[in-house]
Subunit: 293 residues, 4 copies
């Protein structure tokens, strides 16, 4: 008999993930801060709860997918949080992207109440959430990871156990460093190519296949060329994650000269009202410096 699952946070990512758990046949209890997002899941077969504690009281494994560190703290440790509803032996899986340090603090407090926790941040966008093709980077005990495998399998495609508590979050931040750094490379390449009067599509065709190649070059550079700034991942969310990166780097004493500069460049785009555009709009910071955007 499979374990009963709870799901907290039914936003653009969590909504799709919860549906995939239902499709996989799990009995599911759900909660969301804005109650209007609960009904569609209930229609699809989930049980509603009136608080995170209520979800926890009905579940063996509770998945969280909320926005930021304070939100995770609230739904785990706060008033009516999981800690007040879960029985000893429950397992929390936090799919939010938050601070690795905060993750370890929350996990330690849950553990004192006999509740285990895996940090399991995701990447792959809303399509990945809807289609169950997310990448999931998991930190925590190996036994907990094994216990959760069927749950992960319902939500993601590439699920990697990367280390101890907090390691999932740290890997996710590594992922974000790579994403924005590659995007800066692509942006400078595009700005140079444009100023050099090149045919941008032929340029991409010539360089994408070799040592210069990247997912960003193949997927986002064409968007930049056709002036399509629709987000896969918004600048506002990117900045939230870069704050986590820079805070963690600050704690660990790692100098991130490039990432620090990119943060400043995105910041100017936010200030200019572009926070809802895709993170590939980074190139606009360069165009703007050139007096041309």
């Amino acid at each position: 008999m499979s374990e009963k699952i709870g799901f907290i946070g039914l936003g653009i990512m969590g909504g799709g993930m919860a549906r995939n758990l239902l499709k996989a046949g799990f009995e599911l209890t759900v909660w969301n801060r804005s109650p209007e997002r609960i009904a569609p899941l209930v229609v699809a077969g989930a049980h509603p709860a009136d608080s995170p504690a209520g979800v926890a009281a009905q579940s063996d494994i509770i998945v969280i997918c909320v926005s930021d560190t304070p939100d995770v703290e609230a739904v785990t440790l706060g008033e009516n949080g999981i800690i007040h509803g879960a029985e000893a032996g429950a397992l929390v899986i936090d799919c939010s992207t938050i601070s690795p340090t905060a993750t370890r603090h929350i996990a330690a407090q849950l553990r004192e109440n006999g509740i285990a926790m895996l940090d399991a941040p995701i990447s792959g966008g809303s399509e990945g959430a809807a289609q169950g093709t997310l990448s999931i980077m998991v930190g925590g005990d190996a036994a907990d990871f094994t216990r959760a495998e069927a749950v992960f399998a319902a939500m993601g495609q590439t699920v990697t156990h990367v280390g101890e508590q907090g390691a999932g979050q740290t890997v996710k931040l590594v992922n974000q460093i790579l994403v924005v750094g590659t995007m800066l490379a692509v942006s400078e390449g595009l700005a140079f190519a444009r100023a050099g009067g090149l045919d941008l599509e032929r340029t991409l065709a010539a360089v994408s296949g070799g040592a210069a190649g990247s997912w960003m070059l193949s997927n986002r550079a064409p968007q930049c060329i056709r002036d399509d700034w629709a987000p896969g991942f918004t600048i506002d969310l990117q900045q939230k994650d870069l704050r986590l990166v820079l805070e963690a780097a600050d704690e660990m004493g790692v100098p991130l000269l490039g990432t620090g500069m990119i943060f400043q460049m995105y910041r100017t785009l936010q200030a200019g009202g572009l926070g809802a555009e895709g993170n590939h709009a980074l190139v606009k910071a360069i165009y703007r410096l050139m007096g041309d955007a």
Copy 2:
């Protein structure tokens, strides 16, 4: 009847390219500044010449593969240069990586003597040169490109006509911006992951397949992890190309904040005696800043 080919510059790249032209059945006349590199090609079937002008006098199409702008100027326009041996109607193909502006000046002077020119810088390393799998980015007239197709096919795999005179060089510089920018992203990601105590191989496995992925991450990050600094492309050569990038960016008014910073980081590694290591040793600049390299 196929055209007679000349080849000037039989170094680590040019030597392999010339051999592939012989294998493809072209009649080939060769010259190299250091004469000891001529004999092996003669053994393989090439005719020796005693100067670039001598090569040009025996050839319809002359391929150049030398180090830097002054070298190309010398073998084309200098004393005993191609311009003094080639007949009207000859075609020069310059596979060196040099300044786009210098390319246009040289091409203009050759054109006054009835000699056409394509700029055709290459990427793919010494293996690509030996195996005929280079990427070749070609600038110049479409008719000249068509005329040279069989020659390019003997030397490379991905041959792209990217635009007018100089466009090949400009695309090559775009390629180098992408290469080093992606390498900085990888370097910052690795430094962060290492400081965070992650298992680096599991981290790569978790992030390489998605939006963070790049050729550099898949090919050079594993080298960094196993402390293997053998060059695909040396820091010294990388810096030579970055000087071309920054000079061209200066001429065109493009601000390359990231690339400019990377140039400084590589410079410190050269000063520390690491110029012959691979360009992925960029990560050592970060480790050194951290007092740990």
Copy 3:
């Protein structure tokens, strides 16, 4: 009859400032988190209190000089904070360097209880605190500034009313941007001069008097030259203030490319155990990059 003064925070800065208030003839009640710092002030004539609320209950004007935003929040709004002891009409003067935004929040809550507040961060080091020669940058209502003039006159030499609530803190952060930016200029100049084999003292003599001149060049460069890293202001404190700068810049959407880079450079020095050295040790980050420190 002059107003009765309270003083909270008798550290390296606050201790000297409190003594100067006693010397100026003010009746003074004091409190410090570590109680051993209270006795010397009592010997000098101050009344002890057992909490910030206790200080406030005995004072018309309460001066605060503590470390960071949470400390100010604790002594003003926390349990046994000023808000629980002060009468309506009291005036709080916060000489700590904290977030301008937090300053406005604290001031708003005090105001609801009829307590006025000036933010009045200081610069000038421990000598300035001891000798009463501090620079004080004051934000808040003009009437409150006027009321406090005698208090400021006892502690500082250059006292400037720079604007509304929070403006004092913002000006202090401007001061810190200028301090570290000028220090970076000096550091790069020194590194270049040293690599160029110059006599560093003659170099300073030649350039200090003109457009290149600065307080940092005249006062800290000579320290760097004679390998004297004794702090006027430590790297650890500098980083605390730079965090405030970068957070405020983030809130306001101001891109600080230079300051952001300097933060990263100092961070590597802290990680290397140099946090207690003076902020002019920034030059060591460059020497370290050069493999030479």
Copy 4:
């Protein structure tokens, strides 16, 4: 009997310097590439010459004040250059700002012909040139420096013998690193202050006197505040000097992360048509990034 002086390069700086030599009673022979600048000096008492060689033939000491390295090479070593007119024992004083390496090469060639050389770059602007209050940083042999003292005294106020051949140029480049680095600090401070809604004049008053103080803050920040972009030193000239700085840093292996970034920022202003504005317009690069300039 005092030595006969020659002067080559009668531009905005050289014109004033030549006049001051006349005022000091020196017999003076002059030449300028654009001949219309010769006449006014002849009216003032100078002898005209028809080439640098012609100047040299009439002079014991020849002062040069031209734009860039190729200009100095032309007037010293080129056709009709000083080397073809000067007698053994002549002394060349080069007041241009050029590459330290090129300086040493030129000096070596002159020395083979028995001609001594001092590099003596200047700072202080056109006012300093007109009023004889320049700072002069002199490299070369001590005996040559002593021989030239009366000449320097006529042109400058702070004359420092800073070391061997090329040291004058190296110190001048240190000066330029300090100038632009301090200007970046001032620019970031101003941008932050403006975004924070501060009264900029009161802010300057509050911070200029202490550790944040600099010539740039006292002299150029007020210009920025009143939107006065009239040059003391133009961005175009600043960039010419920064190219020399970055080339020398490249040769010496010194990482100048800040200066390299500033170069990129000025470059965008040039591209935007602001090259003739003063170097304090650097702040506009930040305003532009903020979408506001």
